[in-house]
């Protein structure tokens, strides 16, 4: 498996070199996408000194934290979005006649992508940490690294669950789109600004709040006013990520069994 994984990245690099223009456009798109989001945040925050006790600098950190987990997910697990297409077009069979785990094989389908978004996210995070007034200590760095990994796992759990639905229903584009916009819209601000129902969903159903809001509250030593929880719950992100992934992977297993039962 490590050899296959190394081959995969080598091939990604090669295709990237062959399709330089595509890569350049993709990179520009990624930069513009995040710049627009941060720009919008800046413009909004010029109107108020703070939003529910959060300054622009703190919200910049909030964004950078989400962005890092999300881009780590995109760098490693992006190919999961192709599962419905593989199922629909009958290419999924191929993964079942090779001697490796089907999910792993999907992750290593060459895709002409490099982890440029992740690099961008790490740069943003390096700016955001001191900008938010956090002191850089080894413990803080370790904690942030764990949060980013946990965030990527939360994203993975959600994208895997959406992909698995395609074993039952051929088209899941709408579901994916809905979940994606939820994630993009509700990770920008502290969750305390939303209605209570939304806060509960963001904490316990689709736990995007654990990608950035709760850990940031803990790190920045802020009052948790969203659900009135002790900010220490921010430490739970890696555990929540693992749990989400575990549940999703079990669901994936059920989907796979269904596929092997019906072949469609």
């Amino acid at each position: 498996m490590p050899a296959a994984y190394a081959q995969y990245w080598r091939i990604n690099l090669l295709t990237m070199l062959e399709y330089r223009a595509n890569f350049a456009m993709w990179f520009v798109f990624t930069v513009v996408y995040h710049a627009v989001a941060l720009g919008a945040l800046y413009v909004t925050m010029r109107q108020f000194p703070s939003m529910n006790g959060w300054t622009f600098r703190e919200m910049f950190f909030l964004y950078a934290l989400w962005m890092s987990g999300h881009e780590l997910h995109n760098a490693v697990f992006f190919q999961i979005v192709s599962v419905p297409e593989f199922v629909r077009e009958g290419q999924f069979d191929r993964f079942l006649v090779r001697p490796l785990d089907a999910l792993f094989q999907i992750l290593i389908v060459p895709q002409q992508l490099l982890p440029d978004g992740l690099v961008l996210a790490i740069v943003t995070l390096c700016v955001a940490v001191p900008f938010a007034g956090l002191k850089v200590t080894p413990l803080v760095v370790l904690f942030i690294a764990l949060i980013v990994c946990g965030g990527a796992l939360i994203d993975l759990g959600i994208s895997l669950a959406v992909a698995t639905v395609s074993f039952w229903f051929v088209r899941v584009d709408t579901l994916r789109w809905a979940v994606m916009s939820l994630e993009q819209d509700f990770t920008r601000y502290p969750i305390s600004i939303y209605a209570r129902g939304v806060r509960v969903v963001l904490a316990f159903v689709l736990p995007f709040a654990f990608m950035n809001y709760f850990p940031a509250t803990f790190l920045l030593q802020k009052q948790e006013t969203g659900l009135g929880l002790n900010p220490i719950v921010g430490l739970l992100t890696p555990a929540i990520g693992l749990a989400w992934f575990g549940v999703s992977y079990a669901f994936w297993g059920a989907g796979l069994r269904r596929y092997q039962g019906t072949g469609s």
Partner: protein
Amino acid sequence: MHEPAPIVETRDLRKVFRTVRRRPGALGALRTLFSRDYEERIAVSNVTMSVDAGELVGYIGQNGAGKSTTIKMLTGILVPSGGEIRVAGIVPYENRKQNARNIGVVFGQRSQLYWDLPLVESFELLRAIYAIPRERYQRNVDEFTDLLEMREFLNTPVRQLSLGQRMRGDFAAAMLHDPAIVYLDEPTIGLDVVAKEAIRAFITRVNTERGTTVILTTHDLADVERLCRRIVLIDHGSIIYDGDVERIKSEYGRFRTLVVTFAAAVESPALPGAELAGVQGTTARFRFDRNGERADRLIRIASERYPLEDVSIEEPDLESIIRRIYREGYEQRTEEATR
């Protein structure tokens, strides 16, 4: 020397698909959402067969006869609804990954090559996926490159290859890890004559020189005639014939056809000893049993009775034989049994 041993064995293999019965129309679609009744479709029933190591078997059937479903169960993609399978001693659906090491699969309509990469990069990725030792990998790539004449396009992105070139690449890709058994699902579909010939030569070679067991499904019976000694015929999910190609030809192919073109239209032409099989314009077709009747006698009678322009004899080819078996399979079997 060792005795050939069965490498693929199935007993009473069965696959039933349960699908939601859809009601017609918009209202029907709405009702389907709420109350689901299911209908069962038997795709494969009671398939029992045994293939020896080193055999080359044609698995033949019409669309929807159950060919692909059987292959999918043998490869471990589908879990059977009943019955037993063993492939090289392994139950495919229980030990899918272990089984995958022993098998190679070519789906004629679905490439496993990576579209945007040079052919050789797909091979490299497969080398890593199957953990093929470097040395063996290189030997196989070299051998297949020669056999399939792939040298000139080894470094071309797959999307730029012709169908024939791509297919050759797919064959090599399926064989890189030295599988003991290869399943070829419609491997020559859409290929031109030259490409078909190259693929057939490769299959023969792999089978005879490497001793690879080959199970081939195809629509093109020329593939079967050219490649297989044994065929398994499947219809409506069940095996209706399993045996030598030659035997089926002599048993079911007893009837030859005399094609007579008259100089002028003849009303209801008849020949004693032959059965009129059809008239089209001034051409009549007579079917006769090669065991009981001689062609020269029939031609002589015909020329005495009618003014003739042309005469020819059609030998049954496998395709027409099999078409007939599908059409009148039961009748034929009775005939075979009473003989």
